[in-house]
Structure formats: structure tokens, C-alpha cells
């Protein structure tokens, strides 16, 4: 399941719901991305996430379908927020449930790596020097490339 929303989410409730009643599930892996403020010269007082409504949902659904094609998942969930967020706020939740620990862990890792490079979101940060657009990181592209070649 995918959700793109302005509102915060409740991790415990989401993870409980993910595997609820399915007793074949042996493991639930999750990743939560938070707004980070490293302080000092890189002080970030807030960030705003912009996205491409329509394409975002399409890409997240494709990414989720690909994870389900590669691993035997009982359930998966991607929630991505947009709008203005402050340090410590939750941005994204990726969660996977599977009978097998390795499948849940690998699929979760795959989903967040792909989402970083394929989901049309853009961050701008509020800093002491004014607003600035976050630049894409080469490491994110490299992390994504690891999963190329058909799992």
C-alpha cells in the first residue's frame, strides 16, 4: 500500500496493521526517514517537501510492485509526507512483512534506496543563509544501482 500525505503517521499503528492477523508473517522490517539538522554551519530550521502529484503515486506503486516481484512479501507499505517539516519530524516510512526475515530486510532496503532516486520529491531547506534546494547525492544513485540487474 502507498500513501502520499501532508499528515504525520503513527509508526506503531502502521506496523501493527501491516501484519495483523497474518500468522505466516515472521518478520517486519521498517525504515523511517526523519528531518535531520546537523547544526553548525549546516543548521536546518525546517524543510519543505514538494512533489509531483500523480507521478508520485505512480512511481511509488511501481517501486512497491517491483519489491513484491523480487521478494515473497506478505505486505508492504510506503508512506511519504510532503509540505513543511521541522527537524525530528518523520518524512517517510517504508515497511515490509514476510514469512522470511531476509526477504523483509532486503525488500525494505531496496524500497528506500529506489524511492530516494525514483520518487519525484524535492526538498528545500531553511538555513541561516536562506532557503536552498537540496542537491541529489551520488551515493543515493550508487545505492540504487546495487539493486539493478533483476534481484
Amino acid at each position: 500500500m502507498i500513501r502520499v500525505q501532508r499528515e504525520d503517521f503513527d509508526i506503531g499503528a502502521e506496523l501493527d496493521r501491516l501484519a495483523a492477523g497474518d500468522h505466516r508473517v515472521g518478520g517486519v522490517a521498517s525504515f523511517v526517514g526523519l528531518v535531520r539538522d546537523m547544526g553548525g554551519a549546516n543548521r536546518v530550521s525546517a524543510l519543505t517537501l514538494e512533489h509531483y502529484p500523480g507521478m508520485t503515486e505512480k512511481k511509488l506503486a511501481e517501486i512497491e510492485a517491483e519489491a513484491n516481484r523480487r521478494w515473497p512479501l506478505a505486505a508492504s507499505l510506503i508512506i511519504h509526507r510532503y509540505g513543511r517539516l521541522e527537524p525530528g519530524d518523520r518524512i517517510v516510512l517504508v515497511a515490509t512483512a514476510s514469512p522470511h526475515r531476509e526477504a523483509a530486510l532486503a525488500a525494505c532496503h531496496f524500497l528506500i534506496d529506489w524511492l530516494k532516486t525514483d520518487a519525484p520529491f524535492w526538498k528545500s531547506e531553511e538555513t541561516p543563509q536562506g532557503e536552498r534546494w537540496v542537491e541529489a547525492r551520488a551515493e543515493d544513485e550508487a545505492a540504487r544501482q546495487r539493486w539493478s540487474g533483476g534481484g
Partner: protein, 83 residues
């Protein structure tokens, strides 16, 4: 054709979207970017470095040779930074 701009491309071009009639001699993404660059200083500035401009046609990432047609939804934006 519907054009959408995101992030600093939106900021530099000064609008989030516009409807344009595609010139008859523009057939693909490369041609569209070239034609847009000539529409004024804001476009020229926004599209100065095409290596950091990504394009989606009808909500799929495409390369520069991808065809464009009137009626398409074409989005221009920098590399994504979500997650």
C-alpha cells in the same frame, strides 16, 4: 501540451505550469528543451545546465530522444531528493 515545472525549475521559470501549443518542428524532448530555452531570459537561465534537468512525459522518466506530442503532460525538474 501541458508543461509542469518543479523545485528550482519552477522557481526560476516563475510558474508551476502552463499550457502551450507545440511548434510543428518540435518532435522530441531535446527539441522541446531547445525551443523553451528561447522563450525568454527566465527559461534560458533555468535551462542553462541541462545536465541537471530531468524530464517526464506523461509521468514517466524519459530520455532526450523521447517523442513529444500536443496533449502530452511534460514535466521538467531537477534530480529528485525525497526519502
Amino acid at each position: 501540451m501541458r508543461l509542469l515545472y518543479f523545485a528550482w525549475l519552477r522557481a526560476r521559470i516563475g510558474q508551476a505550469e502552463e499550457d502551450l501549443a507545440l511548434p510543428a518542428d518540435v518532435h522530441n524532448v531535446a527539441g522541446l528543451l531547445d525551443w523553451l530555452s528561447g522563450r525568454g531570459p527566465r527559461y534560458a537561465e533555468a535551462l542553462r545546465d541541462l545536465s541537471v534537468v530531468r524530464v517526464a512525459v506523461n509521468q514517466d522518466y524519459v530520455g532526450r530522444n523521447h517523442p513529444v506530442r500536443d496533449g502530452d503532460e511534460v514535466a521538467l525538474f531537477p534530480p529528485v531528493t525525497g526519502g
